[in-house]
Symmetry: C2
Subunit: 347 residues, 2 copies
């Protein structure tokens, strides 16, 4: 299921900018674009994205990584490149990360998206915004079609992300309405897979990491809230199809409609990993959605897209990747612990 391994080395005429390309989804998208023959420039502030997600591309001639924040004026190299496609994936996406600096989260979505729309306008490049199921807030309609206007608190602690993305959609469709850019908008539902951050704070990575480490598994609320999880390769395939499509008249949901409760997920992971972890319940965070499930009829009809990877298969691949990560990290961790003990002893 790793896509970087089978790069087709025939260059095509696509020159893509991927912002947030060092992140979980962004790095998989870059693999797919390179496999397709595109030239790719990745722009990432590396605030939550990680260079190691792109380490395997160090010697790839058609790839470049630039560290920069899309809030600022775009680097000269970017301004000079004749991009044909701009993918905007730049924004911390997990609550603990995006709530750490809510002002920065809002501006990343608004000012950052505006900067990239202007670039797309100047280059006459296609523009794709990765929006989010968070624009639906805590939905009252189930599953959520694109026409559902959402149930979002614009004053709460999740608003910097939810309202930021809503505002980014607004700007994007305003550019479309004014014929300033040729745009696509994906609303991404929960996605999981290799290269998630272990400290991402979201349920799949949390549960797998805790189960593998034998730590207590945290369940917020009673675990009866539902989620629908899409494996990252399916999601990236959807993004590629959307960019190549002519669907410019509104956002498209991309996600897996198979719904399960958080408790079901925990049970599966515990069984799969043979973990001996205890389950610990903690209070539900403010504005945490109770249910979230995409209606993907639009993606099916207009893109001929639907997810293919079964949950069991995806979870196994993800758990295997996290297990490898933890094994790699262990010597470094042990060293750090030993150093700490030396320091403590010296005091």
């Amino acid at each position: 299921m790793e896509q970087g391994s089978s790069l087709v080395k025939i260059a095509n005429k696509k020159t893509a900018l991927v912002t947030g390309g060092a992140g979980f989804i962004g790095s998989h998208l870059i693999d797919s674009l390179l496999a397709e023959g595109a030239t790719v420039v990745c722009l990432d502030s590396l605030l939550t994205g990680r260079e190691k997600n792109l380490r395997h591309l160090q010697r790839e001639a058609r790839f470049d990584l630039i560290q920069a924040d899309i809030i600022d004026a775009l680097p000269r190299t970017v301004a000079r490149t004749a991009f044909t496609h701009v993918y905007n994936l730049a924004c911390a996406a997990s609550p603990p990360h995006y709530q750490a600096d809510p002002e920065h989260t809002m501006l990343t979505n608004v000012v950052g998206t505006r900067n990239l729309l202007r670039l797309a306008e100047e280059k006459k490049a296609r523009f794709l915004l990765t929006s989010t199921s968070e624009v639906y807030g805590d939905p009252e309609v189930h599953p959520q079609p694109e026409s559902y206007r959402g149930w979002v608190s614009c004053t709460g602690p999740r608003a910097c992300y939810d309202e930021g993305k809503r505002a980014a959609e607004t700007l994007t469709f305003d550019y479309q309405r004014m014929r300033r850019a040729d745009v696509r908008v994906a609303r991404i539902f929960n996605t999981y897979g290799p290269r998630m951050r272990p400290d991402d704070g979201r349920v799949v990575s949390n549960v797998i990491c805790q189960a593998l480490a034998g730590d207590d598994i945290t369940v917020y609320g009673d675990g009866s809230q539902t989620r629908s999880f899409c494996y990252v390769s399916d999601l990236v395939a959807g993004l590629m199809r959307l960019m190549d499509s002519d669907v410019t008249d509104g956002p498209v949901n991309l996600g897996n409609p198979v719904e399960l409760t958080v408790s079901d997920l925990v049970e599966r992971v515990v069984r799969m990993t043979g973990s001996t972890s205890r389950i610990v319940n903690r209070p539900l965070p403010v504005d945490d959605p109770r249910r979230r499930k995409p209606n993907i009829e639009r993606a099916k009809a207009l893109l001929g897209w639907e997810p293919r990877v079964a949950l069991q298969q995806g979870l196994e691949a993800t758990a295997a990747w996290f297990a490898e990560e933890q094994a790699e990290a262990r010597p470094a961790e042990r060293e750090a612990r030993e150093e700490l003990m030396v320091e403590v002893a010296a005091e």
Copy 2:
């Protein structure tokens, strides 16, 4: 009902920045602040605000007008002044104006509000954001309490304003949560009164101006959509009370809950002005709200505020003001027409 006429000339310790102060509501707020003894600096881009709204203050020592856009770095004079209060009223508020440059509308609300929040943080000044009933979109709940999360399309042509204001609220409450500023947020419902622009494009000014000129009166849709109109002096009294209050834990609706249909309004104005205008129906604009009426229980309970000016009284004052405006404008108009005819004759 004109408030500028009775200025109390005893200076108090309030030094207020009013952005958008050359606008309809802003200029009345400045009159009230000056009457209370405050020193006031008005910042206005004059894109929709008009200098003539402040002409009567030309010789007022406690008043200053600076032309600047809050999107840009704040002028040095502003950065140097020890403001105690910041009122952010800067943003085009009528659909034809805010839709003319949707990107600018969004950035006025997001980047502009952020710039003013930073100023308030630096000066340890109280900050008041004038938000809008538009954050409720086309509401499904009637009347709308502050807890209602709204029914807003984030991709439609009104979104630059609606989502812009929602994002401005988000930023404001994030500053509050992080203890970076001491904030107040008012959600303003339809307001009317002297100093509205005749080309404002909203129903009260449209209908009065058309009735006075004997032009056809445009009614969008069948006229059965309802609005609730608050006279500007009531609204300004509410803003003053809110700023002086300790209500920092959420937005407060300010508006008049007396609801009437657009057709009712037209009939009243026609009767009042003795107009012979015909009524012409036009299609309803996209996303136009069908009903809008504030629940003001929060303002009543926490601010002891409610509107006092009856609709008939407010409409008469407004119509009288517009009649005077049209009389003033007439000689200039005639000259312009005559010039045009000379030009045409010369061709």
